[in-house]
Symmetry: C2
Subunit: 250 residues, 2 copies
Amino acid sequence: MSTWKVGELGRRTGLTVRTLHHYDRIGLLSPSGRSAAGYRLYDDADVARLHRIVVLRQLGLSLEQVRESLAGSAWTLERVLRAQLERLRERMAAERALYERVERLAARVAEAGTGAAGAAEGVSADELLETIEAMTMFEKYYTPEQLAQLDARGKELGAEHIRAVEAEWPRLIAAAKDCMARGVEPTAEEVRPLAQRCRELIREFTGGDAGIARSVSRVYQGEPSVRERTGLDPAVMEYIGRAVAAVGGW
Amino acid sequence: MSTWKVGELGRRTGLTVRTLHHYDRIGLLSPSGRSAAGYRLYDDADVARLHRIVVLRQLGLSLEQVRESLAGSAWTLERVLRAQLERLRERMAAERALYERVERLAARVAEAGTGAAGAAEGVSADELLETIEAMTMFEKYYTPEQLAQLDARGKELGAEHIRAVEAEWPRLIAAAKDCMARGVEPTAEEVRPLAQRCRELIREFTGGDAGIARSVSRVYQGEPSVRERTGLDPAVMEYIGRAVAAVGGW
DNA sequence: TTGCTCCTCACGTCACGTGAGGTGGC
DNA sequence: TTGCTCCTCACGTCACGTGAGGTGGC
């Protein structure tokens, strides 16, 4: 009965010597013999076991699962394979979702980065990262259908209009805070135009969709960073809420 | 300007304290301040950077890629995202292929393991592993079309017939070796029936397909373990080859 | 003596998890 | 004084890769 040394076995199976050392060390495959000088000597049975290890590894099993499969019954093996299928299914679903996200972002980034002529002209990494942050937040709080609706309405209104609205909000919030600070009641006559404008802008954004309105409020409840960035703390939100209620509600 | 301690920041971003320690240690995000007692104090800019880190990580980037993206220009970011798409595409293709392999094997194993009544009855893990080894070898040396052909012919011939042939081969090889040992020329009259039977069985297997015949010979050249298991070493193969040539060739 | 193969440590990878042992702040 | 949060080590994870330093076999 012939035997093999690590190098020979490695060449035959496509494994490295280090890998065979590793399998020996963790007790997955220890050679049945050693030469006088301490060389590992693998016999036929070892080689047969190694082939099975290699095959099972090619199926994506961990070394622990390989060990379990080799030690267990036919039933164990079936169970391990079914579990592997399940894991692969989950990973594939997660990867597909991730791929679609990255693809959407890359498209948006390319769009933002491309001027009339070349690539990435004029747009800073900071602006792209802001775009990505905003999109991520949107994906977190809005359903795909809501995103499609928002996208469609955004196109109707035009980029120019959206920029104008984004510039207007800080002024409205500052005005509301000013009223609060001066002790003006939210129901006061002075606050009415402000409240009406807020209602107008919100309605424009939600398109009257109650689901989108709920998502907006979830963003402000779940994202302290958004509250901080916009300055819309709970006190201001309540103040504006009461002011809008006084002009007929949202 | 307010600051945050690790715990607060962790809660807000969904990260663990250990993760923030880690980002600090590797210099990805170090807090701009420390309290008198050594507590990490993160300011607004730190929080903004952390949000970007989190978003980029959610895209599947490594910490090194995140660092690069944050340090680089808009162009860097675009490049990183495109590279990520490429990696994801490759991984998805590899996973799909793996999934299909495992699925085929699991189906075959379930088929082999299921008797008339229940699951895995009578079949040992060893037999299932042999099935898997054989299928893996086939997948390695035959194209999908060839596999389909072989499958179809196997069904025609029937499992019974295949088992009989598999039992016959060792006898034919032993007979050839015996002739060799006795110094009988491969062209001798005595060897003719043996040669004719070998030719018959090979033709039955390949169905006269030259591609499949080439694949068979590649298996014996590339897989020493098959040569050893069957005892078909190069000397015997040459002997049989010359014997078959003497009766008209393959 | 020269190559080639073999041996045994032992650190490094990637992104943290998980204690251990101790201190600051209310 | 009691909880709670914070701190700094430092080992463990998974499957090996990659030297370092040394010996056996032709």
